[in-house]
């Protein structure tokens, strides 16, 4: 299934837009690209006011105000991992021959997300023979995404259907790649929630209120503000940011 996001009515959905859309200051919504696969029935859909498959989340921020981020909410099952999950575990090197900018290979990359976790993780992130994960939120400990600079790591997570990672901290390059590609939101918590959440718990991430709610345990946690990455994320990634600030000419494609 695709990851999905809840948006409150009449507020622009504001996930990181993928970088392949055009930005124009004249309209808020350039186009919405629906995935070729049909939208799956979702057991959690009743909790949503509206749900949009992640690949349809291509909405311009050019005219959306910076407060638009406050409307973004992710809801779904979480998958919990520990500290120092490196990029070899997120996407082992043998799959790096897949080129993320090629659409079929992007999908394939997603199907291998977190396949490198040791067998001590008895619940697998993606069921055998599935292309997508049922967990739209990954919860991790410290230093998530350490190791190689491969952008395949946030891309594989995003392609598998993950909307956000919530970790105690990130390795620099993973954080940067997540922001630059807009594949997943790299969010940070103040406490080690990886010890308080279990794989399969139902959670909601509310960006506006900077909080994560675990509905299974009934606990609520504070998220750290996104900080310096904010302006780039607001713009929609490095290319959109550069176009917005006049660094590079507007996309004419």
């Amino acid at each position: 299934m695709s990851a999905f996001a809840i948006v409150t009515k009449n507020v622009i959905f504001n996930s990181f837009p993928k970088l392949s859309f055009s930005l124009s200051p004249s309209s808020a919504i350039q186009f919405i690209r629906f995935p070729t696969s049909s939208i799956p029935a979702n057991p959690l859909a009743s909790l949503t006011q509206q749900f949009i498959p992640r690949t349809a989340s291509l909405i311009s921020r050019a005219t959306s105000s910076s407060s638009a981020a406050s409307s973004t909410t992710f809801h779904g099952l979480c998958y919990v991992v520990g500290d120092n999950i490196d990029t070899d575990q997120i996407i082992p090197a043998e799959y790096l021959t897949l080129v993320p900018s090629k659409p079929e290979e992007y999908e394939q990359l997603g199907s291998y997300a977190l396949i490198g976790l040791p067998s001590s993780y008895t619940t697998r992130f993606i069921e055998p023979n599935q292309m997508k994960t049922k967990y739209s939120i990954v919860i991790a400990g410290a230093n998530f995404g350490c190791g190689s600079s491969r952008e395949h790591a946030p891309v594989a997570l995003g392609a598998s259907g993950v909307a956000a990672v919530v970790a105690e901290s990130y390795a620099r390059i993973f954080f940067r790649n997540s922001v630059a590609t807009g594949e997943v939101y790299p969010l940070e918590t103040e406490v080690r929630i990886c010890e308080e959440c279990k794989t399969g718990d139902v959670v909601t991430v509310e960006l506006g209120d900077s909080r994560l709610i675990n509905h299974t345990t009934g606990k609520e946690y504070k998220l750290k503000p996104i900080g310096d990455a904010g302006p780039v994320i607001e713009a929609g990634g490095i290319f959109a940011y550069a176009r917005k600030t006049g660094m590079i000419p507007s996309h004419s494609a």
Binding site: Q89, G116, S149, R150, E151, H152, R176
Partner: protein
């Protein structure tokens, strides 16, 4: 005997001076000023005093109000700003962008998508493309990725493309180099004072040349290809002062394993790591590269070593591009400073499954091993093989486990067959390795450093070798990462070690302190 030595605690070698003051205006802070005076009185300050005073421009001058670290100065110059402080976000002009066969095709894809099919790279002489990761494999996608690089380089007339076409015999490819970080240095692309970005986390290796070098992703690289610029955040600097004579059984690998063990795998996240001190000054360029190579294993954004006569000597025949080194001002502000007395350190390993899982090599003497791997950008340079050969030569024995040798580049490979090992009566490394019963040196590439396709030479493919003895396959390796699955099978156990320790372990079949053979 190694085992008869006492084991002082690690922390006894370390004095950390934490300083929370991030201000680069050091003179305004009494605390910083006082610290700087202390530093000035110490010998290590020699290493941060700049030669070539006459050539220095304002941004590299240590005026009181704009005291900066090396990293800050390099970024200030590249962003055309008089002064920068940690945390500043600036558009930086990039001197060199490097990419390889794993991330190049994706970066090219993003470049074309964003700038158009007919777009040209910002500077055909500043893009360096080095196929090195998945070369000697029949994996069709891996082969296709090298073809994508070749097509792009032809189309863009890229000046520095180190191509390989004949996979059956690397020697038939005069342009082919091998592991990108070692090739960048050998080919003269690493120069003091410059900014080098690469789509590989170990791009930080080039900091050994006194430049700012860090790894980026495909999207950032696609952006740089089109613009020659990138938005970078200025990191605060941690300073590591390494003093004392390097004992003959230690290598730079031991120093960096010591540091990573001390500050942990996330200890330098978002930060620059600057290495100074008498020990650093005594290291040759390849050893300095080993040190900077692994800063990313501590989370570091970049590592940096002040350029000196060793650096200039290395660059002499390699580049004709003028460069201008910069140095940290004596009053620059460091986030913290760590001091090590290198003469008291012992050979180390990083145990599975984390580079900060430090232990003394001799503490692991009961760990039985199945193989030894000498290779990669960290431990597959000429000096690394010379070090291993020295241990084999000193012992005169044969290895007890399969010992795989993967030279980083074609040049390293030639050195193994061409340069006599000191004290051997004229034997080359390859002769010594053969006599010790090692595998023949393989074709230069990343090899099994990161696992790779299943047919990669020396890859850890089986979870276990011998069910009766112990369950997991154990490898002592001169590489840089030992996360689960890094060298192939995710249950494999990798001990990271120096070439000395790796060679000593090959001779005994257990993790072994090289002093067993080197004393």
């Amino acid at each position: 005997m190694a085992s008869s030595l006492t084991a002082p605690t690690f922390s006894s070698f370390l004095h950390s001076k934490k300083d929370s003051g991030l201000s680069a205006f050091a003179s305004t802070s009494p605390l910083s000023a006082q610290r700087c005076q202390n530093t000035v009185s110490k010998k290590i300050c020699c290493s941060v005093v700049a030669p070539q005073q006459s050539e220095r421009k304002p941004y590299s001058t240590g005026s009181v109000k704009t005291a900066m670290t090396m990293t800050e100065k390099i970024l200030a110059r590249a962003s055309e700003k008089p002064h920068l402080s940690p945390g500043d976000n600036v558009w930086v002009n990039i001197d060199i962008l490097m990419t390889h066969d794993v991330c190049g095709p994706g970066s090219i894809g993003i470049f074309k998508r964003e700038f158009g099919e007919d777009a040209k790279v910002w500077d055909r002489e500043k893009v360096v493309i080095i196929p090195d990761h998945y070369i000697f494999t029949s994996d069709v996608r891996a082969n296709r990725n090298v073809d994508i690089l070749r097509d792009f380089c032809q189309e863009q007339n890229i000046k520095y493309f180190y191509d390989i076409k004949d996979l059956s015999n690397f020697k038939a490819n005069p342009d082919y180099k091998g592991v990108c970080h070692v090739a960048l240095a050998q080919e003269g692309h690493c120069r003091p004072g410059e900014v080098l970005l690469g789509t590989d986390s170990h791009t930080c290796t080039a900091g050994a040349f006194g430049q700012f070098a860090t790894g980026i992703g495909n999207t950032d690289a696609g952006f740089v290809l089109g613009t020659g610029k990138l938005l970078l955040k200025v990191p605060p600097t941690l300073r590591f002062v390494m003093d004392g004579e390097m004992p003959p059984y230690l290598l730079a690998k031991d120093l960096i394993l010591q540091i990573i063990g001390e500050i942990s795998m996330a200890g330098a996240t978002y930060k620059a790591m600057e290495f100074v001190g008498t020990t650093i000054e005594s290291l040759n360029m390849e050893e300095r590269m080993t040190l900077c190579n692994m800063v990313v294993e501590a989370g570091g954004k970049n590592g940096v070593i002040p350029a000196d006569s060793t650096t200039y000597k290395y660059l002499e025949d390699r580049t004709s591009v003028p460069y201008e080194p910069v140095y940290s001002d004596s009053q620059a502000s460091f986030l913290s400073e760590y001091r090590f007395d290198v003469s008291k350190l012992e050979p180390l390993v990083a145990k599975p499954h984390s580079p900060d899982n430090r232990a003394l090599a001799r503490e692991c003497k009961d760990v039985k091993i199945d193989r030894v791997y000498i290779g990669s950008c960290t431990g597959g340079k000429t000096e690394d093989f010379m070090a291993a050969a020295k241990v084999f030569l000193a012992s005169g024995k044969k290895v007890k486990v399969p010992t795989f040798l993967v030279p980083a580049t074609q040049k390293v490979w030639m050195d193994l067959y061409g340069i006599p090992v000191p004290g051997s009566g004229g034997k080359t490394c390859s002769q010594i390795f053969e006599e010790a019963g090692c595998d023949t040196p393989a074709s230069p590439s990343c090899g099994a450093c990161l696992g790779g396709p299943k047919d990669t030479y020396a890859r850890l493919n089986e979870p276990q070798i011998n069910k009766l003895e112990h369950s997991m396959q154990v490898c002592v390796s001169t590489t840089n990462r030992n996360f689960p699955g890094r060298m192939g099978h995710k249950e494999g156990q990798v001990y990271l070690a120096s070439p000395y320790t790796a060679a000593a372990s090959a001779l005994t079949g257990f993790v072994t302190d090289p002093r067993e053979f080197l004393q």
